[in-house]
């Protein structure tokens, strides 16, 4: 087989694997990463980035992460960076083509790091997470004297250059490239060592010099370079940039494994060319085994939880006011859904005036988010609590949540958009302008910023916008309270609204729905009365009719005369059928769970089923 055939085989395999795991399976995650990332073209941002080791990588990584705004484009750039690293490493370390697939292993580890995150994605501090390490690896390869063999000097001079280069690269490039400058120093030393060894020269004295110099450089360069820094802990100079999955006292080492591999596997690059065997069977067998292991690793790392991905898509749809898409996503979910999905769906329903007529058609059976490990407990407040608050007109709580998250995990395009919208609803124009100005300095948020600018200037436009119409209405109609949410987003919203008496029809549907969801009987009947005051025709939405029948006839609510209600015959028939079936199954000695399952096909879309089967109001 000619050498280029191996290269074509390896590269195409790598391309297919990358594209499949990145774009096909995780495009929504990658879009989310850029959205929770943050880059702008200002000097201030650049200065903030470069104050820590690896700052240039961070700045460039944050810049490139933006391109996941178009996931295919972002994926292409990322793969291109990896291919460049591969080509450079192959050339620099003179790796035989048939063994060159080994060079892809660190990249495969980084690929795993991109798809493994799951709910850690919400509490990731790094705006540069995806590109930091690929760029670092490329920089380390570039800085480890890839031109070694082409230098127009004698061997002695080259060896001296290598000795000089080790401390230089560790010191001069430590701040821009962080630990990858140190990796470059190690690779340079290994490159020099293998070259000397291959020439059969005196290895020991030179190797000792290399080792001493290397150890001194690795030990002292980070220490000296960070001596005046107030941004690092004392244990960080040697590790800053290496991604740690830590949250207070929790640390998830398993998620750090890909980064360890990406950092340490390249140390084997200078030695690959020394594999003497020309046997294709050995190289291809190893290649097949490595591919199989890589695929196994990638499949096991890929976080495929349906609800996790659905939440990302629904969040985007809510932000873009694509209500039909939110509901479609909600319909697609097969099993129990997360509370965040329920809240996103309810936001879509209330914007379509369907909260009281269609809410129970959708699945309300909820489950806690399935986290990638038990080291984090994710809550709506950490996820899109601010966006949900905003859509319920709770802009102050939205700002609070957005700010707290920004404090913990840094500002992002998403956070700035939420803050800008909140400021617009609140009438804080100068504040809105500030956020819009910042967004206009990014690459892909300019358009959004321009689109929102008229709303920051003219309040009269707000009621005409799908983005602001309902939040503004709910903001104005909601009662003014002083309190806190204790990180319970859903509970805070529902508790406030079930007690809110308003004459505004759209706001009132939210209040009545909140009373129904919370199953508070007093609030429910107060809100029913309020609904009737606004709509004296006596026509109530389907679920409200179901709830009224259920309250009076099943739960035995006394003192309520339902004669003012114009019941839909179908609703009454279904209620009677439900009651009969319930009694039948109970008399057969079935337990609650069994009854729930039996009733679901016929009555799973009713308020009654929800009330009887989903016994507890779950919020997160």
């Amino acid at each position: 087989m000619p050498p280029y055939a191996f290269l074509i085989l390896y590269i195409s395999t790598f391309l297919i694997v990358c594209w499949y795991f990145l774009y096909v399976r995780n495009a929504d995650v990658l879009f989310f990463m850029q959205d929770r990332g943050w880059w702008n073209d200002t000097r201030l941002f650049f200065e903030q980035c470069i104050r820590v080791p690896g700052g240039l990588l961070s700045w460039a990584g944050a810049y490139l992460t933006q391109y996941f705004y178009y996931p295919a484009l972002g994926c292409s750039i990322l793969i291109l960076v990896w291919l460049l690293t591969f080509a450079l490493a192959k050339w620099s370390f003179r790796v035989p083509s048939h063994w060159s697939f080994l060079l892809f292993l660190p990249m495969a580890a980084l690929l795993a790091s991109d798809i493994q995150l799951g709910y850690w994605i919400y509490i990731l501090r790094d705006i540069d997470y995806i590109f930091y390490h690929p760029l670092g690896l490329l920089a380390a390869t570039l800085l480890s004297l890839p031109f070694w063999q082409f230098l127009p000097f004698g061997d002695k001079a080259k060896r001296r250059i290598a000795l000089a280069w080790i401390p230089l690269v560790a010191t001069l490039f430590y701040y821009p490239f962080g630990i990858y400058a140190l990796l470059a120093a190690v690779l340079t030393a290994l490159q020099a060592f293998t070259s000397v060894q291959e020439r059969g020269e005196k290895v020991i004295p030179y190797s000792l010099s290399l080792l001493v110099l290397l150890l001194l450089s690795l030990g002292l360069a980070p220490l000296l370079e960070t001596s005046g820094s107030t941004l690092l802990r004392s244990d960080q100079p040697w590790t800053y940039g290496f991604h740690r999955f830590e949250l207070d006292d929790l640390r998830d080492y398993s998620l750090e494994l890909p980064f360890l591999l990406a950092l340490f596997l390249p140390l084997g690059f200078p030695f690959i060319r020394r594999i003497k065997s020309e046997s294709l069977l050995l190289s291809q067998g190893t290649m097949a085994a490595a591919t199989a292991l890589t695929l196994l690793g990638l499949f096991s790392r890929d976080f495929t939880d349906y609800n996790f991905h659905a939440e990302l898509r629904m969040q985007r749809a809510v932000e873009e006011c694509r209500w039909a898409d939110v509901l479609q996503e909600s319909s697609k979910a097969k099993g129990p859904v997360t509370r965040e999905m329920i809240m996103f769906r309810d936001i879509a329903l209330m914007n379509r005036h369907e909260l009281l007529s269609k809410r129970y058609i959708y699945n309300n059976e909820s489950v806690q988010p399935v986290t990638v490990s038990d080291s984090i407990h994710i809550r709506i407040a950490n996820q899109a609590g601010d966006l949900i608050y905003l859509n319920y007109g709770e802009t102050i709580f939205a700002i609070r949540r957005a700010m707290e998250r920004a404090m913990h995990y840094g500002f992002s395009h998403y956070t700035l958009r939420v803050l800008a919208k909140c400021a617009i609803v609140n009438g804080e124009k100068d504040n809105a302008r500030k956020y819009l100005r910042l967004l206009s300095h990014s690459t892909f948020q300019k358009k959004w910023s321009q689109k929102m600018r008229p709303f920051a200037e003219d309040d009269k436009l707000l009621p005409q916008s799908e983005h602001f119409r309902l939040p503004l209405k709910l903001y104005n109609e909601g009662s003014e309270l002083v309190g806190t949410d204790d990180s319970y987003v859903e509970l805070t919203i529902l508790k406030k609204w079930m007690y809110t008496l308003t004459h505004e029809p759209e706001a009132q549907q939210v209040a009545l729905a909140a009373a129904m969801i919370m199953r508070d009987r007093q609030c429910f009947w107060s809100q029913v009365q309020q609904f009737y005051n606004i709509n004296p025709s006596g026509l109530f939405p389907t679920h409200v009719q179901e709830a009224m029948l259920f309250e009076v006839y099943e739960l035995g609510m006394k003192g309520v005369n339902l004669s003012f209600v114009k019941f839909d015959d179908r609703v009454v028939q279904r209620y009677n059928a439900f009651k009969a079936r319930l009694e039948q199954y109970s008399s057969q000695g079935m337990n609650e769970q069994q009854i729930g399952s039996m009733l679901r096909p016929e009555f799973g879309d009713t308020y009654m089923w929800d009330y009887c089967v989903l016994r507890q109001v779950q919020t997160n």
């Binding site: 200002t42 080791p53 802990r233 404090m407 100068d430 100005r437 009662s479 309270l481 309190g483």
Partner: protein, 508 residues
């Protein structure tokens, strides 16, 4: 060497400093003064610049008042003072003065004014605005200011630092940065930095949560103490150094906060209980000063002669259980603070009876954070509708009480339609430093105002930044400013190392 010091202070590495120094030399060599446009139209109005430095009065040792003009392609400023005339700008929409030129300009204009004519270019056409002036006072300002820097957050404090800025240029460094110890999302709340007589050999700040305690520098010597003793409401909080003795007055309090659902005030901060104590550094003991359970005493502040302790207090009697937070939440608007003072006998370390000096409650207002001028005549404070955290109250303003006449001075030239808070006098009484949210309503910035010898306030101006756009883009608030005559000499690492040690318990 200077640029090297600056960039080290900014947190850059040694190698960066070297490269930046070279770049600065190169830039300085290349920079020149732009020429005035040969043809232009005249505008019949003054320009709108950011920050607003039109007709302000500044100290003769202030850093360059760099500014920008929105929505223009180019700007040139023709600057004149005495026999000095020069042009600046020519770099897109910003006018940034070179430090040396600016200092020369200030010296020429000391006691008089600088006149600036602005020419802006838009779509190829130049426009000349009506000139505006910057008045230059004769009195210097203390050269340093320290402040807290953090996002305008409510609970978290991961990104929190106490910084010091040289007001005569743009040098800025951390006194302490939370990131030196913090891990993950928890960390330390560092707060309440203060100094004795504007000097840093005697200074302090608190740390809360991780490694809690109070960092005290006394005669240049650093110690870390735990001020909480049996019977005290909490560890020591808001504080003031006695001007001559090694004692610090503190309030001890239980703080709580709650959020509005609709009001853009956003948050209310309350104290459910608070008392006053003093801490004797040499004796390492605390002594109670005021501990009336129906009074919420806060923000102690010594008079410069050390004979009076000023403070504010709100009267509140719990109807139900003491410190019932739900009850307090419903009554937050009734928590209005008045200003008091209490005489202090340094010999016996005893206090006399409290004296009401300003009844804010009668005006349905709340007065907090008193500071007394060096001559003892004026009391500076922040006044808002209720409560104590006025930076969250848009109607809050800085006020000055003349103790001789008992009247408030007209402070409208320095106030704005947005929140102002935490005022303090310079060591020569001629400058007032305070925090304000007038820029955008949310991000606190530092402002200075001239308080002339005839007790007249002048228009306030924003503490300048090297790049004026930075003031707009920075997603951090700069709050609780304190003027200093000198920088803090203890390094951040010394503070950190001390913080990692066990704090010394104080005695009661």
């Amino acid at each position: 060497m200077k640029s090297r010091t600056i960039c080290r202070g900014m947190g850059f590495s040694l190698s960066h400093c070297f490269i930046i120094s070279l770049l600065m030399v190169f830039i300085a060599a290349c920079s020149g003064h732009p020429s005035l446009p040969s043809s232009f139209e005249k505008a019949d109005k003054a320009p709108r610049i950011y920050p607003d430095y039109t007709d302000v009065t500044v100290p003769p040792n202030i850093a360059p008042l760099n500014f920008l003009v929105d929505s223009v392609d180019d700007v040139v400023a023709e600057v004149a003072a005495d026999n000095y005339r020069q042009t600046f700008g020519g770099k897109a929409n910003k006018v940034q003065f070179m430090q040396k030129d600016w200092q020369e300009l200030l010296q020429k204009a000391k006691g008089t004014r600088i006149d600036i004519t602005l020419y802006t270019k838009k779509d190829g056409r130049w426009l000349a605005y009506k000139p505006f002036s910057i008045h230059v006072a004769k009195e210097d300002i203390d050269p340093y200011v320290s402040f807290r820097q953090l996002p305008p957050t409510f609970v978290g404090y991961d990104e929190l630092s106490i910084r010091q800025r040289n007001l005569t240029n743009f040098d800025e460094t951390d006194i302490y940065n939370n990131r030196m110890i913090s891990k993950g999302i928890e960390g330390q709340c560092i707060n309440c930095h203060s100094y004795q007589n504007y000097r840093t050999d005697n200074m302090m700040f608190h740390t809360r949560m991780e490694h809690p305690g109070t960092m005290i520098v006394c005669d240049g010597k650093l110690s870390f103490v735990d001020t909480k003793v049996e019977g005290m409401i909490s560890a020591a909080a808001y504080n003031s150094w006695h001007p001559s003795l090694p004692i610090i007055a503190f309030s001890t309090d239980h703080t709580m906060q709650s959020f509005h659902t609709r009001d853009v005030t956003k948050v209310e901060v309350m104290e459910s209980a608070s008392d006053l104590i003093i801490y004797d550094i040499k004796q390492n003991r605390v002594l109670p000063v005021l501990s009336d359970s129906a009074e919420l005493e806060l923000f102690p502040s010594w008079s410069p002669d050390g004979k009076w302790l000023y403070y504010c207090s709100a009267h509140y009697e719990y109807k139900g259980e003491y410190e019932n937070t739900d009850e307090l939440l419903n009554a937050y608007r009734s928590l209005q603070y008045n200003l008091y003072r209490i005489p202090f006998d340094a010999q016996g370390m005893t206090f006399g009876q409290p004296e009401l000096i300003y009844d804010a409650r009668q005006k349905n207002r709340s007065a907090v954070q008193p500071r007394v001028s060096q001559d003892g005549r004026y009391v500076l404070f922040a006044e808002g509708p209720w409560g104590l955290f006025h930076i969250w109250h848009p109607t809050a303003e800085v006020c000055i009480l003349d103790l001789q006449t008992g009247r408030l001075l007209n402070t409208s030239p320095m106030n704005s339609h947005r929140a102002e808070s935490y005022p303090s006098f310079s060591s020569n009484d001629r400058w007032i430093l305070f925090e304000s949210r007038r820029d955008d309503g949310n991000y606190t910035r530092l402002y200075l105002a001239y308080f002339d010898a005839s007790a007249r306030l002048h228009k306030a101006f924003e503490v300048p930044a090297e790049d004026p756009e930075q003031l707009r883009l920075l997603l951090r608030s700069q709050s609780r400013p304190e003027l200093m005559k000198e920088p803090v000499r203890i390094s951040p690492r010394e503070f950190r190392d001390k913080m990692l040690s066990q704090p010394t318990k104080v005695k009661s």
